[in-house]
Subunit: 325 residues, 2 copies
């Protein structure tokens, strides 16, 4: 069953008081540079440092703790891991997270800090789906997928719903909305919210170069995969291909997919530090990067930008700031 707008409305009620209603930031300097109004939904300020808590809590809060003593299992490069771990902790359920061994240490440590058990695997040679499936079976646990689930998509969509409501309260109609995109769950949720609340807005996925599976899939009309599984500073955006469910939603609702280089993502991280004063990880900065790099016309337009996460390793962040990458 594909998620619908009413599922996002239900999710919004479910996350209230648990998720942070993140602010929509507007910078006079960024507006002056772009000649438009750039409305930044700062999901880095979300509980666990990214939007991922929204979907995780939307799904996990519905579980019956007595019927799922085995808890939850998830596989994730980091942000979904933290979202699931925090949601399970609130719900009082055990969580086991399967993470790539090259995940930034801050994401592994944070995941453990929410009480989760972390198991690592080799991105190049092992299948995270297989490992997770084995634990699900062994522990009679529930799998919380990173994007291929109606509850996850609807939960992430609450970020779009909040953005749409906030800009409407300021009397703004959005022309475009840019969303950092990996498996496409956040993008699909935001697109569903905008289709209902800001129907004139065109929603665009934004991906790092080399991991532009969504841009290519939207163009060809069928699911395309990435040639590589690692090799970008945008570690949060390296899923292999669009999900079938997210693509079914997104192919119907999205405009052209945008792509930025790692250097452009790093520049956006620096801009967020110097001007916006929010901490973004490279993967959480690609939508902002698309604006700064001129991938979309901004003059006279109102553009929504989802700044999706800020869980950046301090060492990497320091190298980006000092241009030592």
């Amino acid at each position: 069953m594909l998620p619908e707008f009413k599922d996002i409305e239900k999710a919004a009620r479910r996350i209230e008081g648990f998720a942070v209603k993140t602010p929509v930031l507007e910078s006079p300097k960024l507006n002056a540079i772009t000649g438009g109004r750039i409305l930044i939904k700062a999901e880095c300020l979300q509980r666990t440092g990214s939007f991922k808590f929204r979907g995780a809590w939307n799904m996990i809060s519905k579980l019956d703790a007595r019927k799922t003593p085995g808890g939850v299992v998830a596989y994730s490069s980091g942000n979904h891991a933290q979202g699931v771990a925090a949601a399970a902790q609130i719900k009082g359920l055990p969580a086991l997270i399967v993470m790539p061994a090259d995940t930034p240490m801050i994401k592994q440590e944070n995941t453990k800090s929410y009480g989760a058990e972390v198991v690592t695997y080799d991105r190049a040679t092992q299948s995270r789906e297989d490992i997770a499936a084995r634990y699900v079976k062994e522990r009679h646990a529930v799998l919380v997928p990173p994007f291929e689930h109606a509850d996850i998509i609807a939960g992430q969509g609450t970020a779009g719903l909040e953005l749409a409501e906030e800009v409407a309260a300021r009397g703004i109609g959005l022309d475009d909305v840019l969303v950092c995109c990996s498996g496409g769950g956040l993008t699909a949720g935001v697109a569903l919210a905008m289709a209902e609340l800001q129907p004139q807005a065109l929603v665009h996925s934004v991906e790092p170069a080399g991991f532009d599976d969504y841009a290519r899939s939207l163009k060809s009309g069928r699911i395309e995969t990435n040639p590589r599984a690692s090799g970008s500073i945008c570690d949060a955006l390296m899923s292999v291909a669009p999900g079938e469910m997210t693509f079914a939603v997104n192919r119907r609702l999205l405009g052209e997919g945008l792509v930025v280089s790692d250097a452009e993502a790093a520049e956006a991280v620096r801009f967020a530090f110097e001007v916006l004063k929010i901490v973004l990880e490279p993967g959480g900065a690609v939508a902002l990067a698309a604006v700064l790099a001129g991938r979309i016309a901004t003059k006279g337009k109102a553009i929504g930008v989802i700044a999706s996460g800020g869980n950046c390793d301090p060492g990497l962040y320091a190298r980006i700031l000092t241009r030592a990458l």
Copy 2:
């Protein structure tokens, strides 16, 4: 004439649409650590990256541009400089800013980016007041003081007014409010707002060790000066002594002054990076540092924290993150 609460209300109307109504952030993790509710007024997200734009615009917007062709002059270690420069640019007035030669480069560059002329001086041997006074006379310009002016104090007080209104909307009564303090303008403005809107709240100045002139002045009941004029990573908080006007307000309204070490300020900068995902400069992080370092009881309490600015040199920030200070 000392500023009163009604001046803050007038200032709030004046800055509307020019200053950012900055969000009040609350972190489940920080609340869990402290056992209280910590409400962070994120003034790093303010126009020009600190609260200083509020007071500058409150004063400068009232000037008659035709009667002040010589524009404005200010002396500042950096954040006031940027606030004055941005306000003057909006008003269409020339601005000349006298800055210490050891001011972080980002603050000098940002000041120039708002169209201001920057003149540097040696903190150890020259008087910034004398240099500024000479330019004021030569150019028939208006001096915009960093804190000793009712319009400046009232403008900064709008940060306190917004915090008080926001926590009231969330049904919270504040027990304490911690304010990063240098000359005492922000502290005085916040204290005036709280005395009216959250009268049960005790307001505390927070200063870096070695620059605790306010803490000592509050204790002795008279204006005390600092032995040094430089030597802390909190470059925004190195004024020599409380202002006479700010002290007249603050001695009546403040609780005990709190003091944190540079290491504790750096730890708070890292916490803001890792958990809150906002960029704070060391001087803008001392109020948060006082909470994290246990300078005040937090268990079961609601504590307002003004995170006053985020204009940190990238190199210094990188060294703080990697503990290479």
